[in-house]
């Protein structure tokens, strides 16, 4: 048993380390509370243990031990449910909701990060057992770097679209109460005071998709809601209970696929708004690639 001590220790340490690194790599630092950290690090520890135990078990020809990994998968699906439920509960009191797609995306990320932890600790204990601790440390460092660099960070809206400022104005087809950005009708504002305040304080941007794939992604309502939520939490919003005039809204220009985004921020800083839009993650569920199919390519030209 003692001969596996080091193997297990290295595996577990690397796994927990990987989990901690991936917890921090989110720009919103979600979960931002100590309890969230405790939960996820403990689950990361369990995942790391499972990964680390696999190598000694196989060496001992205890092949049934592998079934534990199936148990782990079950456990981590539970994490996904847990995250989803928490966020869905909170959604009710959110003035600018995250939207189902973003919640699903976050939940999936938490689940998959635990699989990454298993992979990290598995390789660490494997290399420790068959080679040396030194090599395990080096390979783990590389692996964690790869996880943080490529797997734990997805694409952002800034990668798939250009964001340009566009001043909101009133008036469309003779109706002076319709709020517009570029050529897109945002909403109808009945109260004069509200219209004046919007003209003074609101900001608007146009999100221009770079290609048809991006256009299809931005077409997704969940993706747009995710952008709104991110923007509203980063630059602030004046949205208040019962005051719908200040709701941030994202609408599509049906002819070009561009998204017009309207917001009444706390700080009317257009640069901050553009930054916030750009760093919104592209949701896995929204990401579509019609250009990769033949009809998609044909439709593109």
């Amino acid at each position: 048993m003692e001969q596996y001590g080091l193997t297990l220790a290295v595996g577990i340490v690397v796994g927990v380390l990987a989990r901690i690194c991936m917890l921090r790599s989110d720009y919103r630092h979600f979960p931002g509370y100590p309890h969230g950290y405790v939960t996820h690090i403990s689950l990361g520890f369990i995942a790391a243990s499972l990964g680390a135990v696999a190598v000694p078990a196989l060496v001992e020809k205890e092949f049934t031990a592998v079934t534990f990994l199936a148990l782990a998968a079950q456990q981590f699906r539970e994490i996904r449910n847990m995250e989803r439920e928490t966020l869905t509960q909170l959604e009710e009191n959110e003035l600018v909701p995250r939207g189902k797609d973003l919640i699903e995306g976050i939940a999936r990320v938490f689940e998959s990060r635990n699989y990454l932890v298993i992979a990290a600790s598995l390789q660490a204990s494997f290399i420790t057992y068959f080679f040396d601790v030194k090599w395990a440390i080096i390979s783990s460092a590389i692996l964690i770097w790869i996880f943080m660099r490529y797997l734990a960070t997805g694409r952002v809206v800034g990668d798939i679209a250009e964001v340009v400022p566009s001043k909101p104005y009133f008036g469309y087809a003779g109706y002076k109460t319709l709020l517009m950005i570029d050529e897109v009708v945002i909403m109808e504002v009945g109260l004069k005071e509200a219209r004046e305040k919007i003209l003074k304080e609101s900001l608007g941007v146009i999100i221009k998709p770079k290609d048809d794939n991006a256009r299809a992604t931005l077409h997704n309502v969940g993706q747009r809601q995710a952008i709104l939520h991110t923007v509203a939490s980063l630059v602030g919003t004046k949205r208040e209970i019962g005051e719908l005039e200040w709701s941030p809204i994202a609408r599509k220009n049906i002819d070009t696929g561009e998204i017009a985004l309207f917001i009444v921020p706390n700080e009317p800083d257009i640069k901050a708004l553009i930054q916030a839009v750009k760093l919104t993650p592209v949701l896995e569920s929204a990401r579509t690639t019609p250009l990769e199919s033949r009809p998609g390519k044909m439709a593109a030209d």
């Binding site: 009191n93 109706y175 009945g190 109260l191 019962g242």
Partner: protein, 66 residues
């Protein structure tokens, strides 16, 4: 926030005296004398009902939730 009304329901209608024949039906109708009173009432009702006022530009305001 519990929502008793469905999204998109018209909660109230504020109509100018001269346009009152343009409206009828399910929602409460407030008849006002002039534009100024209409805007005041629209603001008040939008706060009271936690709804948004929309100007239909034909002498009719409606209040609805989104």
């Amino acid at each position: 926030m519990s929502n008793v009304t469905t999204i998109g329901d018209i909660l109230a209608v504020i109509v100018l005296e001269e346009a009152k024949n343009k409206v009828a039906g399910g929602a409460p109708i407030f008849i006002v004398w002039d534009r100024e009173e209409q805007e005041k009432l629209a603001l008040l009702l939008s706060k009271i009902l936690k709804a948004m006022a929309h100007d239909l530009e034909n002498g009719v305001f409606i209040l609805t939730r989104h």
